[in-house]
Amino acid sequence: MALLEVKELGISFGGLRAVDDFHMTIEPGELYGLIGPNGAGKTTVFNLLTGVYKPTDGYILLDGENITGKRTIEINQHGIARTFQNIRLFSELSVLDNVKAGLHNHYTYSTLTGILRLPKYYKVEKEMNERAMELLKVFDLEEEASYKASNLPYGKQRKLEIARALATNPKLLLLDEPAAGMNPNETQELMNTIRFVRDEFHMTILLIEHDMRLVSGICERLTVLNFGQILTEGETSEVLNDPKVITAYLGE
């Protein structure tokens, strides 16, 4: 069964049809790319998938469950986590606490337990610290665990965002332009990390990216979006050689 199945998804803002008749099927363990020129509606699709916007039409099935129109936190609990195009870290919290905030729903104790410092508090906090450090290690961030998140260099902030998303233990990870603003070396390293995350965590990943080296390097299948509609979809190499796609990016 497909992990994510989207059919006839659409949203209008007033009179503007931002995304129309969008569909997509992602199998478990796949590395899927969503590409398209600026303003094509890629981030809007992410926002629809994560419940930031409520779709006007269509439906979204995650692992066979209908999650259409659910709220962001419910969708996260169903198993979709994401990163953001413009990095959204908890900037005043430490790197470690950013990841621990991601663990919020998986390692729990009540507010009262926290205030009274009952034994459970120490036990759960210890487990959280261990789990968070494990995740930080994957992204080579364990040295910076006590830094304030906003003091990290840009590339590491992007990685921390992925670590935080993974902390919520998702089935599907959405990455919105993970390589934006990175130099070629950092991008290469990021590609390795994304592949590692997929293999190590058996993660299914959907990503938006403009860096074609990254897209052709790691994505197995692609969907190309243009003016809110699907231009084409299929195997990466086929799609990237499609004259329609080249025209959409470069113009006539």
């Binding site: 981030t43 926002n47 930031v52 953001f84």
Partner: protein, 294 residues
């Protein structure tokens, strides 16, 4: 019925004062994005200057008002230059606390000069009251002047902002000060001008307020200042027509509440209406809805 009409007129009159103060509040908020808590105290200073000029030095009221406007305009610009300008780019809270500091400062200067005793203010208006419906409704000269002043100010301010170069610069700065600067607008001068206009309006409001309610103390400005702030939020802070509508409505609600419900609860009613409006329209009656982009 006659009672209701005269309450309504009084409400519009008080509302006009709130509207004039709220205009200053809203302009400063729109352009400097700060809550100028000291605005109410400029009103009080405006009142004391007229008091000194007219009752103390025996000058004609018109001259007194002019002096007061000039003094407050300069005061507003000086406050902006000394206290607020260094904090441009600082956190909103820091600016708010500074404004509170300025408010304490102005109150205590007035306290040192005039003491805490209530001064009785002689009205600057010498127009005969208007008698309607065979004397069933009497509208005082102060009321007439206040309402007229508010209308004139509203029209003048709107045309100034719409048609003059500086007015359009204000609009540009309030929309996006960075972009305005890049387009050659002198942002600092525009902000200073805004404070000048806001403070001049506060002086006029002070004179009108004290003419209708002639008790003057160093704390006279505080509550009207808060009410005008409420009026500005009520109408949608940053919006000039909003401040006007908010001010008038607030004045009417306050006077009618006092007359028909409870004089002690009048303020509570005003605040309750504000809360209800904001819960229905979270950015006020005419405020712009801003949605965060993800």
């Amino acid at each position: 019925m006659m009672g209701f009409i005269s309450y309504l007129v009084n409400g519009i009159s008080l509302g006009s004062v709130y509207a004039i103060i709220a205009l200053g509040y809203t302009m400063v908020y729109g352009i400097a994005k700060m809550l100028n808590f000291a605005h109410g105290d400029v009103i009080m200073i405006g009142g004391f200057v007229v008091f000194t000029a007219v009752s103390g030095m025996g000058l004609p009221p018109v001259i007194g008002v002019l002096i007061s406007v000039v003094v407050c305009t300069i005061l507003g610009m000086v406050i902006e230059r000394i206290a607020y300008k260094p904090l441009r780019g600082a956190s909103k809270l820091a600016v708010l606390i500074t404004a509170i500091g300025v408010s304490y400062f102005l109150q205590n200067v007035a306290l040192l000069i005039y003491g805490s005793n209530t001064k009785s203010f002689t009205s600057v208006v010498s127009i005969e009251p208007l008698s309607l419906a065979d004397g069933a409704i009497i509208i005082s000269g102060e009321t007439i002047v206040t309402i007229l002043a508010c209308i004139v100010i509203m029209i003048a301010l709107t045309s100034f902002i719409k048609y003059s170069k500086s007015g359009r610069a204000m609009l540009a700065v309030s929309e996006d000060s960075g972009a305005a600067q890049l387009m050659g607008v002198n942002v600092n001068a525009t902000i200073a001008l805004t404070f000048a206009i806001g403070s001049a309006l506060a002086a006029i409001a002070g004179v009108l307020l004290c003419s209708s309610y002639p008790a003057l103390t160093p704390y006279t400005g505080a509550m009207p200042g808060i009410k005008a702030f409420v009026a500005a939020v009520f109408g949608g802070i940053g919006s000039i027509p909003g401040a006007f509508i908010g001010g008038i409505l607030l004045g009417v609600i306050e006077i009618l509440g006092k007359a028909y419900i409870s004089s002690q609860l009048a303020d509570a009613i005003v605040f309750a209406v504000l809360i209800i409006v904001l819960l229905v329209k979270p950015t006020g009656l005419l405020g712009k809805q801003i949605q965060e982009k993800v």
